[in-house]
């Protein structure tokens, strides 16, 4: 049993009793932390406001014997206010929170995942970009050892052929002879390569376009194949 200090992004919260909440935080050093925050649903609770999902916090927690830790204090690093006040950005952010929640494990630190989520939310807060969430999905796939093969046909291995399809069950892009899964345009393939090969800054400044939509669809589906689960937030219909 011990006190610990960490920072992290609040992923979700569920009600507990009359005034408490169980919050899930993706932390830097303690992996995914599930902890009880007492009294936070009383109106005007500053502690409670800081533990709303989509908040970057530093906190003091108490790890007891049971599954659930207890939260004692929280300070705000960022509330991502511009994300909260724009439906498109909020939808993108919620999908990233859902992915992070699925990938992270309790008490198993993946500092890179925390940094990628904090960075992606920060980028989204700076300016609207349709590429933040798709790029985050692709980066997380790579972090989890499932980066799609994009420089040659994943099936026959040839690099001197045009790649025309994409299928994450196969593990990446496919040539005309081996094609299956979804068709992919050269422009989308280019964005995905740049995302994974050091060109992220350029990708994030891509304006909304048909190619951006194409990459978003491919990245979402690839993540769903990887998680073996539907991403609820990407399919909830919250963007009319």
């Amino acid at each position: 049993m011990s006190l610990f200090r960490d920072r992290g992004i609040v992923l979700r919260g569920i009600r507990l009793g009359e005034t408490d909440r169980i919050v899930t935080i993706l932390t830097e050093e303690h992996g995914k932390v599930r902890a009880v925050a007492r009294g936070v649903r009383r109106p005007g609770s500053r502690f409670g406001a800081r533990l709303e999902p989509l908040t970057h916090v530093t906190f003091l927690g108490w790890q007891g014997r049971g599954d659930l830790d207890t939260l004692n204090q929280a300070e705000v690093v960022d509330t991502f206010r511009a994300v909260r006040e724009d439906l498109d950005r909020m939808a993108a952010a919620l999908t990233m929170l859902e992915v992070a929640d699925q990938i992270a494990q309790e008490r198993h630190a993946i500092p890179a995942l925390y940094r990628m989520l904090a960075g992606a939310l920060g980028a989204l807060n700076e300016r609207p970009s349709p590429m933040v969430a798709p790029a985050f999905h692709l980066k997380v796939l790579a972090l989890d050892g499932s980066a799609p093969v994009l420089d040659g046909c994943v099936s026959c291995g040839r690099e001197d052929v045009e790649l025309v399809a994409f299928d994450l069950t196969e593990g990446g892009a496919l040539c005309r002879g081996c094609r299956r899964g979804r068709p992919i345009t050269p422009a989308a393939l280019d964005i995905m390569r740049r995302t994974l090969q050091g060109g992220l800054a350029g990708v994030l400044s891509e304006p909304p376009s048909a190619v951006a939509d194409e990459v978003a669809t491919l990245a979402t589906e690839a993540m769903e194949v990887h998680l073996d689960r539907r991403l609820r937030s990407a399919r909830s219909g919250m963007l009319p």
Binding site: D86, S233, R235, G237
Partner: protein, 201 residues
Amino acid sequence: MPAFSGPLQALVDELGRLPGVGPKSAQRIAFYLLKVPGPDALRLADAITAVKERMTLCTRCFNVAEGELCAICLDDRRDSTVVCVVEDPRDIVAVEKTGEFAGRYHVLQGALNPIEGVGPDQLRVRELLARVDAEGLTEIILCTNPNLEGEATAMYLARLLNPLGLTVTRIASGLPVGGDLEYADELTLGRALEGRRTVEA
């Protein structure tokens, strides 16, 4: 292995299903009901039966109602062109207590929670859109909770409603009366600053 015999255990089990009631509280309430005079306990049973038999949801606004329409929808002194959208019937009680609103309501029966799989189809959104023309609405006030789900719901509805040419407003978020500024959270204080008003003196 049940701790008590027959009906008493059944009561403890049922009470334990209630929101916010743990096993210990369920036992305490069950023993209390066992002890009080018959008529007192039966009044509770009757109240539950009456609510289940007589109360339904208003077919227009989805507030609780004792018939087809709720008391507010039946009150023809209220402004029928302004609708305040809330998540839950209990929110109507809160707004009514302010005495500041004389229009009608629309209860969504929840808020968008995409990560938990609650999308627009799980809420009374289609019914709200249908009311715009049918009732000649001129203003809709989005009165969902000031949390992530409530904000998402308000933005979603604003995007659907704005093109329809009526006034769509969102309640301001501010500081609680009687609270100390130094104890306010950052998001609330930031928004309160943004929503400042000139002071007439």
